[in-house]
């Protein structure tokens, strides 16, 4: 799949969920394979080196991990989109309904501008101030109580709770942003997602309200006036409306209610016979209030909410990208991608065949000590330097029931020819057997095995051959004894015995 490089919140959210599950599944991948794979991908994405989120996105689109399906992340993002659309539709419906309610006109009592402003404009200004306070850096801790308090009626929070219900028991989805309460990485992204949803609701609420106003203005005969029990005279009300009209008073002065309009459109419920506009204004002229209402809703409702929606969208993007680069395992992954791969291990997988003796038949008896208990007088061969220790070794051999008749030197620095001559001379005489003393710590080379085979061939199949293991100044180590027995087992020789000599002091 080709990396498109899109960094929308939806794409980042997909990557965030996918990366979390991918890194979890990747734990089972062989370390070396993982290093090689990630470095190869890192080299491909070298141009994105300073943009970790893009690198990680690129990695996700290239990596192939067993038991991991990138499509799993799409369910979470689908829910994000569905909740967004639902909130937009809900906002549109609520805005339309509320505006229709506030602007309902039976033909008797005119629509009170005071109500319309109180219901559709002032709360939006108030909520905008709250949003700005909550969006301030560091406000998170300061206004946590306010946030929790508003949580129950907050459209974004409601969407979050709804998402939690829908995703319960499923693989990580949107909940990833909220379930890790301890995570300072995820929390900001989660907060901005809630804010984004709320602003989406608010924008569509204003669109709904404006559409309702436009529809009613166009297709019905609305009469606006104003009335209040408050001790508010016409001049004060005029000042208040001028203050409210400040954003567009230069751009569209006709939409700023004039003092004449205010004076003429005030009414009191105690007036008998309904409301009659004061001359010189006609009933039609009272409809001139609508541009003010339209621009007030646009200026204090729609436009600020479009800005807050954009800010929320951008902040959500930033924090999702930040979270992507900081979730557990991402730093290690980036290090693997961006650091030179240093390997020192074997280049092949066909590491080392079985140990020697692997071809020995397991049913072969391990060469053991002699069991007949009969004392044996025989020549003794000192293999590879043990000849020099013959004075010290003789009593140890006698302890095993072997009486050395004479000592011969073989192996070590002697030539093969000398060894062959020795074997021939040993086998010429009829002996009860031959003992060979070896240094137990030196493993049996094929060189020694050749010597034993030569001895067996020339001395006959039933001649007892005793290999006496000598450990020098120490007892023969079990490990060394096993090495010898294991090697000699491969000769399949029932008259070959292995004895262990006591250490020489």
């Amino acid at each position: 799949m080709r990396y498109t490089g899109t960094m929308t919140p939806a794409a980042l959210l997909t990557d965030l969920i996918a990366l979390t599950t991918a890194l979890e599944a990747d734990g089972a991948t062989d370390t070396r394979r993982r290093q090689q794979r990630d470095r190869a991908i890192g080299k491909e994405l070298h141009g994105q080196r300073k943009r970790p989120a893009r690198q990680l996105s690129g990695w996700l689109r290239r990596v192939d991990i067993a038991d991991w399906r990138p499509s799993g992340a799409h369910a979470g993002v689908h829910l994000y989109r569905v909740l967004g659309v639902s909130l937009a539709v809900l906002g549109l419906a609520v805005g339309w309904t509320l505006a229709r309610g506030v602007l309902s006109y039976s033909g008797q009592t005119p629509i009170n501008i005071f109500h319309v402003v109180s219901a559709l404009v002032l709360p939006q200004i108030l909520l905008l101030v709250v949003w700005l306070l909550l969006a301030l850096p560091g406000a998170s801790a300061l206004f946590s109580g306010v946030r929790a308090t508003l949580g129950v009626v907050h459209p974004g929070r409601l969407a979050q709770r709804f998402a939690a219900r829908l995703e319960r028991g499923r693989t990580p989805g949107l909940q990833l942003l909220w379930t890790q309460h301890q995570s300072r990485v995820m929390t900001p992204a989660g907060r901005w997602l809630v804010s984004y949803w709320s602003q989406l609701f608010a924008v569509w609420f204003n669109v709904g309200a404006l559409l309702a106003l436009a529809y009613l203005t166009a297709f019905s005969d609305l009469a606006f006036a104003w009335s209040t029990t408050l001790n508010l005279d016409n001049a004060e009300f005029h000042r208040l409306l001028q203050w409210l009209s400040w954003p567009w008073h230069n751009l569209y002065p006709q939409a700023v209610p004039s003092r004449e309009l205010i004076d003429a459109s005030r009414f009191y419920r105690l007036q008998s016979g309904g409301f009659e506009p004061a001359p010189p204004l006609s009933a039609a002229q009272l409809g001139a209030w609508w541009p003010f209402l339209f621009l007030a809703l646009t200026s204090y409702g729609l436009l600020p909410r479009l800005v807050t929606l954009l800010v929320s969208w951008l902040r959500l993007r930033v924090h999702l990208a930040r979270a992507l680069a900081h979730i557990a395992g991402a730093a290690e992954l980036l290090a693997r991608m961006n650091s030179p791969l240093v390997t020192t291990v074997c280049a092949h997988d066909d590491v080392i065949a079985g140990a020697p003796g692997a071809n020995a038949d397991a049913s072969d008896p391990v060469p053991s000590a002699r069991t007949d208990g009969v004392a044996m007088a025989c020549p003794v061969v000192g293999w590879s330097g043990t000849y020099a220790q013959r004075e010290r070794l003789a009593p140890r051999l006698r302890g095993l029931g072997i009486e050395p008749l004479d000592w011969q030197d073989a192996g070590g620095g002697r030539s093969l020819h000398e060894d062959r001559t020795l074997v021939a001379s040993l086998c010429q005489k009829r002996q009860s057997g031959v003992a060979v003393v070896v240094r137990a710590w030196e493993p049996p080379l094929l060189d020694f095995i050749d010597f034993l085979r030569d001895l067996r061939r020339q001395c006959g199949a039933r001649q007892a051959i005793v290999v006496a293991l000598w450990g020098g100044e120490h007892p023969v180590a079990t490990r060394d004894s096993e090495v010898w027995r294991h090697a000699l087992r491969q000769l399949h020789d029932p008259y070959l015995h292995v004895e262990t000599l006591e250490p020489t002091p």
């Binding site: 370390t31 470095r39 109580g145 929790a148 308090t149 508003l150 949580g151 129950v152 709770r161 219900r165 890790q180 309460h181 301890q182 995570s183 300072r184 990485v185 029990t229 408050l230 900081h326 557990a328 730093a331 290690e332 290090a335 650091s339 030179p340 791969l341 240093v342 390997t343 020192t344 291990v345 074997c346 280049a347 092949h348 590491v351 080392i352 065949a353 140990a355 020697p356 003796g357 590879s384 330097g385 070590g412 620095g413 030539s415 093969l416 240094r439 710590w441 030196e442 493993p443 049996p444 080379l445 094929l446 060189d447 050749d450 020098g472 120490h474 096993e482 090495v483 294991h486 090697a487």
Partner: protein
């Protein structure tokens, strides 16, 4: 420039594979007490991405050195011909089972590889080594002898005398215990064998040092993440009023301890993997502090809000409703409407909360009491966890891949003793910030990592 290649050769069972395992950081190299475990030639290149800086070659041991030397003696005319004779030996005995081991181990040498001859310095020298050393001398390749101290005996002087006659450089090297610097020194010793090898080997040393630092930084980061997670970890569970609270508390405590142990073990494994240990066996006791009585608390929740937040919400709602009255009377009520509304709203929320909490939605109660265990309050807890992690890391760094014994993690309490006062204070500050802010802040983790790393190398000032 040709890539330096070194063949590790010698008698069987003298630790050639251990040397390779240690130098290549490869725990997959088969090491066995059985003689002749290595039967194939295996190459272990040091590669930086696609560039090879040197190649280490593991070879089987000599099996019939006297017979091979005898053949060579029969062929050689003069000393100058000896390398050619060795080459001829390999060429003529390819496929000959009798000299299979000799052909395999000599092949890299006639291909230009340097010789790394390995003997066991804990056992006495024997004349049977002379034939193989003579063959190696005949190859004419640059050579270095390593006295590998496998056992408890010490015959290094005996060996030095013997090896000195055949090899220009003789070094003592314990494949099981050689620390990182000793391994680098060995590489630099190789560089002395041939001028052409100096540059790549010096670069290899630089690369290995950088890689070592990278791994250490990565390991410290893993430890910091684990530590932060363990310090701030808590576990919650809705309280089931039909069951014994003590039993529920015990079950939650057990789950809490198990989760902390799992986190710690996962960290160990990740650190080991970073150091190329994937098969390491480890023996370690559970953190003893976890056996203490754990702090637990009960709290009340509805819609995720605490009772206090819920009352505040009710209060705000009531105040909003009451403010309508205040507005209606032109403010003459002196905000009495808002105040009364807030009181009524808050009180309603307080008294109706339990009834609402019991309401079932989709089979789940909307609210109720929540039992919570953790975070761990014992102030020694982070130090114990950190001490254990540092001990583990130090042991890993001091260990070689040739060592196949289980890693025994004991006496972790001492592992922070070398820390100086300033370092301890630095660590404590981060612990305090973690307890306050929670884990997961990358900047805080960086701070913790920076505070931990110097502890690996000892303290800044001795404590009285």
């Amino acid at each position: 420039m040709s890539t330096p290649r070194f063949a590790v050769v010698g008698h069987p069972n003298k630790g050639k594979s251990s040397i390779v395992s240690t130098l290549a950081n490869d725990e997959q190299v088969m090491i066995s007490a059985l003689s002749g475990t290595t039967r194939e030639v295996q190459e272990y290149p040091l590669m930086v991405d696609d560039e090879t800086l040197y190649v280490l070659i593991d070879t089987p041991g000599f099996q019939r050195p006297r017979a091979a030397l005898e053949w060579m003696h029969a062929q050689a005319g003069s000393s100058a011909e000896r390398p050619q004779v060795v080459r001829r030996f390999v060429e003529q005995h390819q496929g000959d089972a009798r000299f299979e081991a000799e052909c395999r181990l000599l092949a890299p040498l006639i291909g230009g590889a340097g010789i790394l001859y390995v003997v066991d310095g804990s056992r006495p020298f024997g004349h049977e080594y002379e034939a193989e050393m003579e063959i190696l001398r005949w190859t004419g390749q640059p050579s270095l002898a390593l006295i590998n101290m496998i056992g408890s005996g010490d015959y290094r002087h005996e060996w030095e005398n013997a090896l000195g006659q055949y090899f220009r450089i003789v070094r003592v090297f314990n494949a099981m215990k050689a620390d990182f610097d000793k391994r680098l020194q060995l590489l630099l010793a190789f560089a002395q064998l041939c001028e052409a090898w100096r540059a790549p080997l010096e670069r290899a040393v630089q690369v290995l040092r950088a890689e070592r630092q990278r791994r250490r930084t990565g390991a410290v980061r893993l430890i910091a993440e684990c530590l932060a997670g363990m310090i701030t970890y808590f576990r919650e569970s809705p309280l089931d009023s039909s069951k014994s609270i003590d039993r529920q508390r015990a079950a939650l405590g057990e789950a809490y301890r198990a989760a902390l142990t799992r986190r710690e073990q996962a960290c160990r494994q990740a650190v080991e993997s970073l150091y190329d240990y994937n098969r390491l066996q480890r023996r370690e006791a559970v953190v003893d502090i976890l056996d203490e009585d754990l702090f637990s608390s009960l709290s009340w929740r509805l819609f995720g809000l605490t009772r206090r937040q819920l009352v505040a919400t009710g209060g705000v709602g009531g105040a909003a409703a009451g403010s309508v009255i205040d507005v209606a009377v032109g403010g003459h009520s002196l905000l009495l409407g808002s105040g009364l509304g807030a009181l009524i709203g808050g009180a309603s929320a307080w008294f109706s909360a339990d009834r609402i909490a019991d309401i079932q939605l989709l089979g789940k109660s909307l609210g109720g009491q929540v039992l919570r265990i953790g975070p761990m309050r014992n102030i020694n807890f982070p130090y114990v966890v950190l001490g254990r992690a540092l001990l583990h890391l130090r042991m890993l760094e001091g260990r070689t891949h040739a060592c196949r014994e289980p890693l025994e993690l004991v006496s972790a309490a001492d592992s922070l003793r070398t820390a100086g006062h300033r370092q301890r204070a630095g660590v404590e500050k981060v612990f305090a910030a973690l307890r306050k802010q929670g884990a997961g802040d990358p900047a805080l983790l960086d701070r913790l990592g920076h505070a931990i790393e110097p502890l690996l190398d000892g303290g800044d000032e001795p404590e009285a």
